[in-house]
Amino acid sequence: MWLIPSECEPRAVRFGIQPDRSSGYFLRRPTPLRIALFVACYNDTLFPQTGVAVTELLERLGHTVEFPLAQTCCGQMHYNTGYHGEAVPLVRRFVELFRDAETVCVPSASCVAMMREHYELIARNEDDPALLAEVQALLPRVFEFSELLTKKLKVTDVGAHFPHSVTYHPSCHSLRMLNIREEPLTLLRAVDGLNLIELPNREQCCGFGGTFAVKNMDVSTAMLAEKKACVIETKAEVVTSLDNSCLMQIYGGLHRDGSNVRTVHIAEILNSVKGLAGGNA
């Protein structure tokens, strides 16, 4: 424990000290955790900056981040498209790689939904009690990124500075499968300089849906049109979400229309700190 006056707080945060406003200006260093990052294949390939932001933020909060290099994909694309047999080795791979992890962080609600909704069923259908037991033992330690911050690390203010108007799109899988509702909003409200604007009809799907986006291109585009109109209505500069997949869909449509609204994963917003590298605002 340190006794630090509250005006020094922003500086303290940069040095990995977590503010605890409930106890006046006592600041408490959290118990450091070893967090294994499952970044998700599409983040790794298409959105590396999200993984960078997660790593830097967690380290700034005083934790150790590990990245098992053998990780690839959680199996969601195959499983949700009906290639169930093809998904099984990927499920096994994930479980083998992360079974000894203390805590697993996944900056993709959709992948976490895949694990929580389907991994047990997959193990059961494989008639593999050992796999089932491992899945059941591992899943309670797997957290979506915003869940990890708010539920496990119990932080809401990560000392971020992001002077932009932002609207939040709750991805379907975060909302309806992981039941993450208020957590990301709480995190965003605590960001210095951030003007949070509510997205109209926000709980409606953006139309991505994985392979749906190409298999049912026309319907996907029609759904996207509704989402785009809602985003434009907010006049926000930035759309954020827990899932880069939705953001890829929303950005793809907005950019095609010539809009300059940006899409930024929530981790990148939370990792934006005044005057420090890593914030890409």
Partner: protein
Amino acid sequence: MSIRVGKAAKAPAFPIAAHKALENNQLRANVRRATTTIRNKRALRVEEMPDWEALRSAGAAIKQHTLAHLDHYLEEFVANCERAGGKVHWARDADEANSIAINLIRTYAPKDSTTPVEVIKVKTMTSDEIQMNHALEAAGITPIETDLADMIVQLGHDEPSHIVVPALHKNRTEIRDIFRASMNKPELTDQPEDLTSAARKYLRERFLRTKIAVSGANFAIADTGTVCVVESEGNGRMCLTLPEVLITLVGIEKVIPSFGDLEVYLQTLPRSATGERMNPYNSLWTGVTPGDGPQHFHVILLDNGRTKLLEDEMERETLQCIRCAACLNACPVYRETGGHAYGSIYSGPIGAILSPQLQSLEHSRSLPYASTLCGACYEVCPVKINIPEVLIHLRGRVVREDQKTLKGKLGVENIAMQAAATIFRNERRYEASQRLARIGQLAFERKGMLTNLPGMAGGWTATRDLKPIPSHSFRDWWKSRKKKGASN
């Protein structure tokens, strides 16, 4: 035995039908307006219920129990219904059900052959499933739909597009035009009062002159032999009480064990279906009562593929459906396309799992893919059918059946998926393909953006841009950082 669901066997694939539907701006505006209204009303009526989740669980549990012991409860229903003066007939499929209905109508129809035989019909989506109207017409019998929306659909030579609100895709101006043409009323306005009074006059004449009615049922109660129909207009009550003969077509999954179980569904069904606390008309009847209502009552219990679903626990879940259509109103896909795109009288998310299971996957293999798996359907379902899970299960069946054929094996999608699976099974292959994709995309990059990709990815870039794959992956950043850390 041939199982068929309406005209679904001949329907075009969903993406093709949806493409056509999306071009109809009037239809899309009507569907959006109507589903938004019902959706909001439902939300209000659900929020006010302190025990909504408990009611959902109870609704699911009763149905699960019944379906696990369906033989028992069906026999109990038959015994109690017949004891009360009803007569029950079993129909394995559409043709059997139709011929039973036709024979019954011929038995009771007036014997003078100069007047055509008419029957009034109400609240029987199941009769659309078996295309009863076509069968009746072919047998020289004229079916008259009396539910207002069904009547609009029939007079407009249209197909229902919604489970609860079959004419949801029509606005009142379009309805006025249908009435003007079919009722010979060129002066009719599109004011709701005028439209309803025209419909009322048209229907009353038919209620009073027709002796035989065909209905559906919302519930068939085993321990009393009672049948229940819920509705909003009162036209159903007319059909169920005025004629001398009543033939009720019931899917075997509509049976519930006891009268007390209605308590759950009469709370969840109206709130889910129309956003009402209770239905304006709840008709319940048990067999025949001398001097009151129809004196001849027949029930046709229809299988038409349902027993096939009982074998698999997950597929069986589909039969829990009480046809409230909350999933249609909540569905962002249905909202864009309306019901016709599903090529079946059962549309929306429940249609996407029901039609392929009742008939065969072969005829509706695109339906399980007509969803983003957003979960809005599951969230509102009053009997907790995990529709996304069933959709994924059916997708699995589609793929496995495909992979048995050479054409399926050599299909673009299967090859791409097999390649991806191979890549994901090994991190070195995965890293190599990241590098390969980075090089491959160079040919398609324009002004720092991918706007015209080939093959399946072209479906993406037809309407959306894509940022090119960055020069370094996250794992590249991680490795270089570790290296720097090690050298420091």
